[in-house]
């Protein structure tokens, strides 16, 4: 190729590479550095803003690696684990789960772990996002009344569990010493309307579920993996009622969901929602369109979904007895306009007799005959009888006698037989107010039965008009159709 073209191509390639470097944000990897190392920290040191669950610190708007100072205090606190039940939690930042830490990939994190002098136990911290011995645990073993410091570079983006790793590790974790650290990718995360922090844990007490009073940790139950409580965010009811997570119809919600364990794997599901995207295991790749995702003990995931209709969305561990019998239940309350096309709510509540229903063979036969144009009055009567039972008979009785002073009779009813069109209209649209039937006055309400199809209605009327001493013409589906079309249904009735 000639010189001009090659020069042009070279220029093109160079600018493309430069653009790529620029797009990766300030501090693209220095030559020879390991993956994730975006160079030395720049600018003034930043004091990380930590948040209590379920809140998440705001997204990072920074395009260079910085020195971030994290100060995390350990407190041993007595709190309610369930109403009327207290437990001694060992916590990072005073809460279970502990404070949420948010940094950017490539940041240099100077980590200060403080063990309050009033605490009983020594503690340390293992952050799964740390590359180094013990995840920091080897360098942070801290007695009460002391502070440890160590520094690490966040080489990998992702959502990472942190937890105490002091012997016996299972007990420290079971007492609530876990939390999440988010390492944002250099380009940041897509904006959403809400970000929330939810973390599941299993708890082991000497007493039974909801047994009141102060409960102590039961090591044997923990070894046997028989939790008393399985909870989101450290207490039953932490995220229900007035503490429920909030969103509006149309919002995009992102949940950072961790699982501190110590033992159980979570089958995380939000009742009523489907996750549009799941960064399963908190890794780089996403799965889309997920109903329930597994979150391992000592792991985390990021799930996102759109709120499309209002209501209460229930977060559960779908190992479902944990949700209903051990407390693994949280609520996201969504407000906003309804969308009946997506979700209608209950439309019909009708009687269903199951096997006790009259033989429906007659109905099937009538349908088939109608389709082939051979429907006879006898078939209609038989089919109508099937449908009458359990629907009309509830008020008018199986013998058509009705209930004196309450429901008018159909048997030998002058009111019924005089006007066929009127009868069709009444069954379709209901009737309220005074009627005189066979000389007796009735003043009651008949609800519309317009949910019945034209053929069903025709068969019922044919049956009624030819039973218990009544004798009259059949009613055809077309006749019903015409009356349906020419009259208006009352408010709330079906079509």
């Amino acid at each position: 190729m000639n010189r001009g073209v090659s020069t042009f191509l070279a220029t093109l390639l160079c600018s493309f590479a430069a653009a790529l470097a620029a797009a990766a944000g300030g501090g693209s990897r220095p030559p020879g550095a390991m993956p994730g190392d975006l160079g030395p920290p720049r600018g003034a040191p930043i004091h990380a803003k930590l948040t209590n669950p379920p809140d998440v610190p705001p997204p990072i708007h920074r395009n260079y690696p910085a020195k971030v100072i994290v100060e995390l205090e350990i407190r041993e606190v007595e709190k309610e684990i369930s109403e009327g039940v207290t437990y001694t939690f060992w916590t990072f930042g005073g809460t279970t789960p502990g404070s949420f830490i948010r940094v950017r990939q490539g940041d240099t994190v100077e980590f200060h772990l403080k063990n309050h002098p009033d605490n009983k136990m020594p503690h340390n911290i293992d952050l799964h996002g740390v590359t180094g011995p013990g995840g920091g645990a080897a360098s942070s073993f801290t007695a009460p009344g002391h502070e440890s410091q160590f520094t690490f570079k966040a080489l990998n983006q992702g959502i990472y569990v942190y937890h105490c790793a002091t012997a016996p590790v299972g007990m420290h974790i079971a007492n609530g010493m876990y939390g999440l650290m988010l390492v944002e990718p250099p380009e940041g995360m897509k904006p959403v309307d809400h970000e929330y922090y939810v973390m599941q844990g299993d708890f082991y007490t000497v007493g039974k579920y909801r047994e009141r009073g102060h409960q102590e940790f039961d090591m044997q139950r923990a070894i046997d993996e028989r939790p008393t409580y399985v909870l989101f965010n450290g207490s039953e009811g932490s995220l229900v009622g007035e503490h429920a997570l909030k969103a509006k119809v149309g919002d995009r919600v992102r949940l950072f969901v961790g699982n501190g364990g110590p033992n159980l794997v979570s089958s995380f599901h939000v009742i009523g929602a489907i996750f549009d995207r799941v960064r399963y295991e908190g890794g780089l790749h996403e799965q889309e369109n997920v109903q329930t995702t597994l979150i391992p003990a000592g792991g985390a995931a990021i799930v996102e979904f759109h709120v499309r209709v209002p209501g209460s969305y229930v977060l559960v561990d779908h190992s479902i007895l944990r949700a209903f019998n051990k407390g693994a239940l949280a609520i996201l309350k969504a407000d906003g306009p309804e969308n009946k096309a997506i979700y209608s709510g209950k439309e019909v509540d009708a009687v269903y007799l199951g096997d006790k229903a009259a033989n429906l063979a007659a109905v099937t036969a009538a349908r088939a005959a109608e389709a082939s144009g051979t429907l006879t009055k006898e078939q209609q009567i038989k089919a109508g009888e099937s449908r009458f039972t359990g629907t009309c008979s509830v008020c008018h009785q199986a013998n058509g006698e009705g209930l004196p002073n309450v429901f008018p009779p159909l048997a030998r009813s002058d009111f019924l037989m005089t006007d066929k069109q009127r009868a069709i209209g009444i069954v379709l649209n209901g009737l309220a107010g005074k009627v005189t039937v066979n000389g007796n006055v009735f003043n009651s309400v008949m609800p519309p039965m317009s949910q019945l199809n034209d053929d069903e209605l025709a068969n019922i009327l044919t049956y009624v008009r030819n039973s218990w001493g009544n004798s009259g013409e059949a009613v055809s589906a077309d006749e019903v159709k015409q009356v349906r079309a020419s009259t208006k249904r009352p408010e709330g009735a079906a079509h």
Partner: protein, 250 residues
Amino acid sequence: MVALLACTGAAGTAASPEDNPFLPVAGAELRSALPRDKHDTVPVRSFLLQSHPVTNQEFLAFVRTHPQWRRGAVPLALAGADYLGAWSGPLDPGPGATASQPVTRVSWFAADAYCEALHARLPDWYEWELAAAASAQRRDARADPVWRQQVLDWYSRPAGKMLPTVQQGSANFYGLYDLHGLVWEWVNDFNSLLPADADPEKFCGSGALTLQQKENYAVLMRIAMLGSLRATDTGHLVGFRCARDAGALP
């Protein structure tokens, strides 16, 4: 025995030797949580151990006669800044540190000096572990899950504002009180419990594999706690009691 029936002195009176007597603990081959070399057991010689942790009243008597160990006089190299921090004054425990509460916020150096003044010493870890393995009925109750859970329960309770006084519970087989459930206690060899070349990650999961007595989590936590301390530390919940060799003069 008179020693077993000894009770703590009334508040305000000077502490006397009968208040916290040295009681005999028979020697044994101890199946320790910390294995030494490759042996299953560790030989522990008979020794004497004080009945309960040293109280504020007892320590007050010590600093009265040993002014160099009063708060404010002790160099930081021997006791941290919070030395006797619960006391109102160098010679005044005050309402925050009652006579019969165990003395805490004392460094290892201070505890060691106190015991020396009594012609005694701090117990070794193995001695302490042997004495603490006993319940009221048995020399070695460590295989009893009920006893283990009782001991573990202390860790489940928060530290609380007011430290209980000594001898609230019942004495164990040797007549000793409060080896569990009150305060952490200094031992002579607290910082060499693990071999010098021990993996500093000892207490990150894998470390527990080399320890014996894995079911006895209370002991593991005590080892962890002692391993986290430095000799100048004045922990809020760290106290001590003294020991003597068997046959030593009182």
